[in-house]
């Protein structure tokens, strides 16, 4: 552990010592806790500024466009323009709206996203609260975001918002399950629910040990965050603009921030669970965490740039008919492998083999079934015949 790696901790210890000279012990803890809260807020909100710019640029570049390039060099400050403009917009509350809930819902969007950051280890020893049920906390809190969506849609008094709520809830219920299975696989192998323990257990990143669980977790968290290709919550062509249809000005900005903070959460949690967290050679831990997280975030934006939106029936089919059974099988096989071969290199290798074998088996099964099927839709979905 180098000097740079431990720099934030050193600063924190120095601060703790400095405060200890004038304050009682509880006072020091209070101040340090407040500093941690502020840091988490910064870590959660700062990426939003970058991500609004990055998303527009990545989308534009993928489509051979420039993207915003007139606001500052390379359009870098376009997020500030957005912020100033959106804060000075008129704030409209529709007549049909339930005023109290309508005002409260945007605040609810951000809270679960911020809470998840408390259990994410951002560097060696850099975690706000090392809960011994950390990952359970993250999964439980992460699914609370739908409460905000329900509140926002219901209070808008708009039928399109309501339709988007139905979609969102169906989506959440179906994707919570494969997500839980993939997290369970990780917990089983690492032997603990604490996020730090999960990171420390990844001598080889779990994405290489059990790719099925990693991909499932990534896709399921895309669905939880209502990102493309699972963003049928916001189907512009059918239900105008989804849950934030009636929101304008500042309240809409909260949804906007919440959406981008959620992307960063996807990146952070995927990194923690499957990509080895802050572990990596040469560079300090927090840098590795940032690099890996931004890589995952780029994949999220890249997917947005490429894939069209799925239909609701395809979405539910994909979860219930493919992801859930696949991950159930994966969970049992991986458990068996690690029980027999131990958690060392041999176990990891065997697990990878089992994962690939499972994928091949499922693929063969699907192709065979589709070949014998007379349903045009099944053949189109699996074989690519139309």
């Amino acid at each position: 552990m180098g000097f740079l790696d431990a720099l934030p901790l050193t600063v924190m210890d120095w601060l703790r010592g400095l405060l200890g000279q004038g304050l009682p012990a509880w006072g020091v803890e209070l101040v340090v806790g407040l500093i941690k809260v502020v840091l988490i807020l910064v870590v959660a909100i700062l990426p939003v500024i970058v991500l609004t710019w990055l998303e527009r640029k990545v989308l534009a570049r993928g489509q051979d466009r420039f993207g915003p390039n007139l606001a500052g060099p390379y359009g870098l400050v376009v997020a500030f323009a957005d912020a100033i403009k959106i804060l000075t917009k008129e704030d409209i509350i529709p007549q049909a709206a339930d005023r109290q809930v309508f005002r409260f819902a945007p605040a609810l969007v951000l809270i679960p996203t911020l809470l998840v950051f408390t259990v994410v280890p951002m560097g060696r020893g850099m975690i706000a609260a090392d809960l011994n049920v950390g990952i359970l906390f993250a999964v439980a809190i992460g699914s609370l975001a739908v409460i905000a969506i329900i509140a926002a849609t219901w209070s808008s008094g708009n039928k399109y918002s309501l339709l988007s709520m139905f979609r969102s809830v169906a989506q959440l219920v179906s994707y919570e399950l494969p997500m839980a299975f993939s997290v369970l696989t990780v917990v089983l192998v690492s032997g603990g629910l604490s996020t730090v323990r999960i990171v420390e257990a990844q001598v080889i990143p779990f994405a290489l040990v059990m790719p099925i669980a990693a991909v499932t977790y990534f896709l399921a968290s895309l669905a939880e965050a209502n990102r493309s290709p699972f963003d049928l919550l916001l189907g512009e062509s059918e239900i105008v603009a989804g849950h934030n249809l009636e929101y304008s000005g500042m309240r809409f900005a909260m949804f906007y921030i919440g959406e981008y903070a959620h992307i960063f959460v996807i990146g952070a949690l995927t990194t923690t669970l499957f990509l080895g967290g802050y572990q990596g050679p040469i560079l300090p831990g927090y840098m590795w965490f940032l690099i890996k997280t931004m890589a995952v975030v780029y994949v999220v934006l890249w997917i947005r740039c490429t894939w069209p939106r799925m239909r609701i029936d395809q979405l539910l089919d994909f979860s219930w008919k493919l992801l859930v059974p696949l991950n159930l099988a994966n969970l049992m096989l991986v458990a068996l492998v690690f029980k027999l071969a131990g958690t060392g290199l041999l176990g990891s290798l065997l697990s990878l083999v089992v994962n690939v074998g499972l994928l091949v088996a499922v693929g063969t099964f699907l192709v065979r079934r589709a070949r014998s099927s007379t349903s045009r839709r099944t053949r189109a979905l699996v074989l690519g015949e139309v």
């Binding site: 466009r65 957005d82 809409f252």
Partner: protein, 181 residues
């Protein structure tokens, strides 16, 4: 000719602030930041009605790309939009919806009438077509052409940006209460 002077359509009295305070340094810089932000992040509500919609889409696509102006988030909800691009023939059947969308947009809001039909009814001297969008809503920029080129639409955007740049927080009408001058 194409550099024709652009006029302020939002006629508001300039006497709200005393003469000696009008050159207030703080307010001027606030104005410049405020106008810059509104120029560089003007999200359009693309109200495509007829053939001009194709040129509007082309202006947003890779070759002309109005996303460069910070406009690359075309919302389908009027609540989050700043600019209404009316592109195409406004029929009487569609007119109430246009007015409704305009009323649903939050201030500050702007509108561009794109194409001959939207400017003046164009070729349709007909029972079914509204003779110009000005009959329905206040239009800030009229863009003639049948249809206008995508560059012409972006030219209209730059002129609209000039117009926005001339406005001032002191004088704009949308931060006042009802009835206030």
């Amino acid at each position: 000719m194409s550099e024709r002077e652009i006029h302020h359509t939002l006629t508001v009295p300039e006497t709200l602030v005393p003469e000696d305070l009008q050159r207030n340094a703080l307010l001027t810089s606030v104005d410049s930041v405020y106008n810059w932000a509104r120029r560089r992040s003007m999200w359009p509500l693309t109200f495509g009605l007829a053939c001009c919609a194709l040129e509007m889409i082309a202006a947003g696509a890779a070759r002309y790309d109005y996303g460069r102006l910070g406009m690359d988030i075309p919302f389908s909800s009027p609540r989050q939009s700043d600019l209404l691009i009316i592109s195409g023939t406004i029929t009487h059947k569609m007119a109430p919806q246009l007015i409704r969308l305009w009323n649903q947009m939050p201030e500050p809001k702007y509108s561009i009438a794109m194409g001959a039909c939207t400017v003046s009814g164009g070729t349709f001297d007909s029972y079914a077509v509204v003779q110009g969008a000005a009959e329905l809503i206040p239009v800030d920029i009229y863009l003639p052409g049948c249809p206008p080129r995508p560059e012409a639409l972006i030219y209209a955007f730059t002129k609209l940006h000039e117009m926005v740049g001339q406005q001032s927080v002191k004088t704009v009408s949308w931060y006042r209460k009802e009835g206030e001058a």
